[in-house]
């Protein structure tokens, strides 16, 4: 982009002018400033080096120790494992046969035939695509409601949209059985209305709805942020030039939303592509995804095939993210937008069709949202207060008893809450600076930066168990460097895993903001003598602060909800988090686990409200 090239050229110009300004001031002040300048100028470089080092140490090196298994078998380098997976129709469907050397004609014929095989990878992509469509369809109306209407509790609702994101799949499974099961709430309501019963559980539909439960909030949140940053004056200009409201939306507002919507969609696809507990709980093994097989192979210590499968999974996800990043680079809208669009009251000001129609649409959406988001969570809460004889506090009594009389080798509820918060805050403290630094690095202009960006996003697409296993082998068991043994404790490794999983969200929320900042602002600051680091701290970050907060919320959410890497790394009850406590409290009766699930809900809701309050009063770039 021309703007970026200019920006790059101006950078060297402003350096010159900086020197000129310095030459004019007195020698002693000059020396002091040089020292400070050096720190501030190299501060960013130092942070960048530290970030890259940290990424290599806590992500790329450990994960490489796992992936190397797929190419180094019995001490010999080989591509055999990959080839056998790629040629296997079980994994790759009909195209696998093509790679196996079967004639093209025969393969095309079988692809066109009705009983073609998608293969596990094809099927995984298919369900991820369906899940993405469902998540976008459910997320956009929520974004519309949150960005365009004013009503009491809007900010709280906005903060809590992230909540489904952190719920352990076990809890979502429980909530979904109670809501969509044969004897669930949905069928009770349909029955009361005289409608037929639906059989939803153990179908692809159930899995897709559950994935939408997890990911629609993500789509809603990023789109809301983009919508709130649309400049009202641009819309007003379009309207004053005679554009209809629809036309103004299509030509002015929508183009500014596409990147966010697509980002939500891309992330949803990546997440649902590497999903598995929900599939096995609500769909059943006939809907097994790639990740199911990665898990099983790792459990059976068959690392070569597991690593190869995980790498193929990673390749597909990264390819998609790369494509999105290419798109994002071409479609970032530069804005000085400081005045967001005014929100309309939810109560219609008049009874005209134009006022009523969108609100009726929202009312219908509210019913759907009630069924998909509220009912499963409500069912879980009800279950926590239920026992064989109806309403009871026995499940909470269990938590208190476990806390007061439980043995040290048992999971204690408060310790789990404390660990979750501690790991959450610690990973936030690592991920936030990392994310901002990577965002700055990827919004500079150089050849191949989208590739760098995609590589920096890789943690999103590597499954938790691979990260956990890599950290276990690479850091917890320790490495020999020059005769000394370096090892990292389980707690630190957990923070590393969470930070690595969370920082890409900071990057993805902050980078578009940084890119859309009017570059003349930064250039003026630098022309006036501000080093790069100071310009970032004083000019850029305050302008994108809501995006930083949004990234922080995601990072915290990921840390709270993370299960698979934590379970691999946690080496004692004193490192167990809330999701692990929930898993441990599952028995023949789900009561104690659901009570712990409610504790998780309360603790994380409070955390999100707090994080969002740090974002300042009104959100908007």
């Amino acid at each position: 982009m021309a703007r970026d090239l200019d920006g790059g050229a101006d950078d060297s110009d402003s350096d010159d002018s900086e020197k000129a300004t310095e030459a004019a001031s007195s020698p002693s002040r000059k020396r002091g400033r040089i020292v400070r300048d050096t720190i501030e100028r190299w501060g960013l470089v130092g942070l960048a080096v530290a970030t890259i080092g940290l990424l290599l140490g806590i992500f790329y090196y450990p994960v490489a120790t796992v992936f190397i298994d797929s190419v180094l078998v019995d001490g010999r380098w080989t591509g055999r494992v990959f080839v056998s997976i790629l040629q296997d129709p079980f994994y790759f469907g009909e195209p696998g046969r093509l790679l196996a050397g079967e004639p093209v004609g025969a393969v095309i014929e079988s692809v066109l035939s009705p009983d073609r095989r998608l293969g596990v990878i094809g099927f995984t992509a298919y369900q991820a695509a369906l899940s993405t469509v469902a998540s976008v369809a459910l997320g956009l109306p929520a974004a519309y409601l949150l960005a365009r209407y004013e009503f009491p509790g809007r900010r709280t609702l906005r903060s809590l949209t992230i909540l489904p994101f952190v719920l352990p799949s076990i809890m979502v499974g429980v909530g979904f059985v109670a809501t969509f099961g044969r004897n669930g709430t949905l069928n009770a309501v349909l029955g009361a209305l005289g409608l037929g019963e639906v059989k939803l559980l153990f179908t692809l539909e159930a899995v897709v709805i559950a994935h939408a439960f997890y990911n629609a909030p993500l789509v809603a949140r990023v789109t809301t942020a983009a919508w709130e940053s649309v400049d009202a004056s641009a819309v007003e200009t379009a309207r004053s030039l005679g554009a209809s409201p629809f036309r103004a939306f299509r030509d002015v507002v929508a183009p500014q939303l596409y990147p966010s919507v697509l980002m939500g969609a891309a992330l949803t696809f990546v997440f649902t592509f590497s999903t598995f507990p929900i599939v096995l709980a609500l769909g059943g093994f006939q809907l097994a995804t790639v990740e199911v097989f990665v898990y099983r192979l790792i459990r059976d210590l068959e690392y070569a095939e597991a690593a190869a499968l995980a790498l193929i999974e990673l390749g597909i996800s990264l390819g998609l993210l790369y494509a999105y990043l290419q798109y994002e680079a071409r479609h970032t809208v530069q804005s000085r937008g400081i005045r967001p669009l005014p929100r309309r009251p939810l109560r219609p000001p008049s009874l005209s069709v134009r006022e009523l129609l969108p609100r009726m649409g929202l009312a219908v959406y509210a019913l759907v949202a009630l069924a998909v988001f509220v009912a499963p969570i409500a069912s879980m809460i009800v279950a926590s207060f239920s026992g064989p004889e109806g309403l009871t506090l026995a499940n909470y009594q269990f938590l208190i008893d476990r806390q007061t009389t439980g043995a040290s080798f048992q999971v204690q509820p408060w310790d789990a809450v404390r660990n979750s918060l501690l790991f959450g805050v610690a990973s936030l403290a690592v991920a936030l600076p990392m994310g901002v630094v990577v965002a700055v690095l990827t919004t500079r202009d150089y050849r191949g930066r989208k590739l760098v960006d995609a590589v920096a996003m890789a943690p999103l697409a590597v499954s938790g168990i691979v990260v956990g296993l890599g950290l276990l082998r690479g850091l917890v068991f320790g490495v020999e460097v020059g005769g000394s043994h370096f090892a990292v404790g389980g707690g630190l490794a957990i923070v590393a895993a969470h930070a690595v999983a969370g920082y890409p969200f900071v990057v993805r929320t902050v980078a578009p903001g940084l890119e859309s900042i009017d570059h003349t602002l930064v250039e003026s600051a630098r022309a006036l003598g501000a080093p790069r680091a100071r310009a970032l701290l004083d000019i850029e970050l305050p302008l994108v602060w809501p995006a930083v907060i949004a990234g922080a919320a995601f990072t915290f959410a990921i840390s709270i909800g993370e299960f698979s890497a934590t379970i691999v790394l946690a080496s004692g009850t004193n490192q167990f988090t809330m999701p692990i406590a929930i898993e441990r409290f599952i028995g023949r009766r789900l009561g104690p686990a659901t009570a712990m699930g409610v504790v998780l809900l309360v603790v994380t809701s409070a955390s999100f409200l707090l994080i969002d309050r740090l974002g300042g009063d009104e959100v908007g770039f």
Partner: protein
């Protein structure tokens, strides 16, 4: 500025928590031990010894043995053992279970546990297929070993000895259906969509049920049976708790579970009519759980004393009740009503170590490929 103070505060927290984590996390054994020291000092003084206990026994096990929400034998066993022997017992429950120790041995990292409790046949197969040097030592002389029921011994190399066993059976809601008597009648149309079982790759019950079908139809015939079962709408969910909670939610009237189901149902005053047991073909697949001493253990003799302790009649009976499993010995002291509620199959069946070694992975993998082929 708010932002600055927030970042400073967050920065301070992280350095503190890093120090904290580094302290906690150096090694899991160390941390478990540290947290147990206070406790054992306390019990040391209460028994009136001049010093602390002489020896420490570290036992690795699966978490439900010490930490299930209902009952679990861990705390009781620890207390009884420490009262009687002048020793300290430390439970270690790595989430990867046996894999944790295989990983450590493979990486050349010290294994700080002395023995493992909760080993089953396919764990042992996995150990032997992945480690050349072996993980466990010869069991040697253990008191009470002769009381173990014949047929439960599963290690031909004499490393692991059983301490309890479960029988995998169908559990069904008698108010909704009557479970069939045979594998073949499970294929009847009236039972379409009636059965929920679990993924054999990740669940012990699911694996036992799959192995039972291999036992019944042979390695050449079980896949055909599963094809028919799939046509009759069998559901294979991920874990035992996925399956059991779906069954409890009336999604289907039959689930693959344990034949001790009524013991727990009775403790919770559930309607026993809704917790009926059925052994297909009058058989139940036995899943014995064993214990073994790690090669290179610090206190191998104490570990053997502990094994002998676990095989005593009164301890066997108590473990059976608290772990909701059957005892491994003939001589266990069981409560009166236990036999009424916990049902033993007329004919227990199981695969031994030699039959599983080299086969079990292939059977599961073939099944996966057939069942999940899209």
């Amino acid at each position: 500025m708010d932002r600055r103070s927030f970042l400073t505060a967050a920065g301070a927290t992280v350095s503190v928590s890093f120090a904290g984590c580094a302290g906690l996390g150096g090694s899991d054994e160390a941390s478990t031990e540290a947290s147990n020291t206070d406790e054992s000092t306390a019990s040391g003084t209460s028994t009136g010894d001049t010093g602390g206990p002489d020896e420490t026994l570290v036992v690795g096990t699966y978490s439900a043995f010490v930490d299930s929400p209902s009952t679990s034998p861990g705390a009781w066993v620890k207390q009884r053992f420490e009262e009687e022997f002048d020793a300290r017992l430390i439970w270690q429950t790595p989430s990867n279970e046996v894999n944790h120790y295989i990983e450590r041995r493979n990486a050349g990292v010290d294994i700080e546990a002395d023995m493992y409790l909760g080993l089953n046949t396919d764990h042992l197969v996995r150990v032997d297929e992945n480690l050349d040097d072996g993980l466990f030592a010869d069991v040697g002389d253990v008191a009470g070993q002769d009381d173990i029921k014949p047929g439960l011994q599963f290690d031909p190399d004499g490393r692991a000895i059983p301490y309890d066993t479960g029988y995998i059976s169908l559990v069904f809601d008698g108010t909704a259906t009557t479970a069939p008597d045979t594998f073949d009648s499970l294929l009847a149309e009236e039972h379409a969509g009636d059965l929920i079982t679990q993924n054999p790759a990740s669940s012990a019950t699911g694996r036992a049920f799959l192995l039972h079908t291999v036992k019944q139809f042979g390695p050449d015939g079980y896949l055909d049976y599963w094809s028919d079962l799939q046509d009759n709408d069998v559901r294979v969910l991920g874990s035992w708790s996925d399956a059991y909670s779906a069954w409890s939610g009336d999604e289907a009237p039959m689930v693959v579970s344990y034949s001790t189901d009524q013991v727990f149902a009775d403790q919770n005053d559930a309607n026993l009519e809704e917790h009926q047991i059925r052994f297909l073909n009058d058989q139940g697949y036995a899943n014995p759980e064993g214990m073994a001493v790690f090669d290179g253990a610090d206190t191998p003799d104490l570990a053997r004393e502990f094994m002998g302790f676990l095989l005593r009649p009164e301890i066997q009976g108590e473990i059976a009740v608290r772990n909701v499993q059957f005892p491994a010995t003939e001589s266990a002291d069981l409560p009166e009503d236990y036999a009424e509620l916990a049902q033993e199959p007329p004919e227990p069946v199981t695969f031994g170590y030699n039959e599983l070694k080299g086969s079990v992975s292939g059977w599961i993998s073939d099944w996966e490929r057939q069942f999940a082929s899209n």
